[in-house]
Symmetry: C2
Subunit: 155 residues, 2 copies
DNA sequence: CGGTATAAAAATAATCATTCCCAACATCTT
DNA sequence: AAGATGTTGGGAATGATTATTTTTATACCG
């Protein structure tokens, strides 16, 4: 069950956002994309999401999925994961948490290591960048890839 | 000045490496790609490196750059950074260290926050993955993008 | 040294993810 | 209802990367 933030009280906009904060309209497509994303605990790519959404909206275009994921990420409704691998992944949970990516199949899962908010302060002290955020990404072998490669010895 | 590991004593191979450890030949192209990568403290993309290398080897192909970066990364001679953004980046320094990526221009720099080796142990305890490694990626605004956007207020 | 096998390079085509563009349609504003 | 604006679908365009094919360079063996 998804609760939609009504346009009038829309969520805060990104840092570096130039245009005055625009509210985004909740179209059928947007609603269903968001619902499908929220349904899963994995972090689907745009085309995985496209396949999921198409079961309910067979005529939706892939471009629409991309466009709206981007838009919802900009508005802080979802999280765009810029992790390793070739494709971007999306996450309906927007509060800070870390991820682990399978080096075998590319799948991404949440990992519940405590978030280290101090890291940003530390980094700010030792860099000329204006530090905005951080992300920790673990790499490993997921259960199903371990199963597939029983013969291989990891160390 | 770059020291090349002679084929006979080549560097250790990756975990999950299937084929017996093959030595790689040091060709002119490889040598120059590696030299150019080691020259800079930034973390160039394949095509940035292509441009750098072309000044010394005008007839080199982009494919050669990609192929050799991949190969050298597999052999542990360099590091392939699978960070956010659209392109992969490469790093001549192979020991663990963290990075910061500019949200304006995509540039990636090293950041000298202490490496937290315990993180992997922690993650292993709270996950069904076989945890292999980790990476911390900060995001921020680099000095030159700060300069370009004096009018914007960051918070 | 010459001939053959093998590895790597160059050139080019193919693929994949993503973005862009545009005509048709929907929704807001007055 | 009319005009302005926003959104969609579909397809073309782009950009990064990978694969394929041909050519060139290096290694191996007598």
């Amino acid at each position: 069950m998804i609760i939609f933030i009504p346009p009038a009280t829309s969520t805060p906009v990104n840092i570096m956002e130039t245009k005055p904060d625009n509210m985004i309209r909740i179209t059928t497509q947007r609603q269903i994309i968001l619902e499908e994303l929220a349904k899963v605990k994995t972090h689907p790519t745009a085309s995985e999401l496209y396949d999921m959404v198409r079961k309910r909206l067979p005529r939706i275009g892939l471009g629409t999925v991309y466009r709206n994921l981007e838009l919802m990420a900009e508005n802080g409704m979802i999280l765009k994961l810029e992790v390793g691998g070739t494709q971007k992944r999306f996450d309906a949970t927007t509060d800070t948490h870390y991820h682990i990516r399978c080096s075998g199949c590319g799948r991404v899962d949440d990992i519940d290591t405590p978030v280290m908010d101090d890291l940003v302060k530390e980094a700010a002290a030792s860099s000329s960048y204006l530090v905005q955020g951080h992300h920790v990404e673990f790499t490993g072998v997921c259960p199903s890839c371990q199963e597939k490669n029983k013969d291989v010895t990891y160390q």
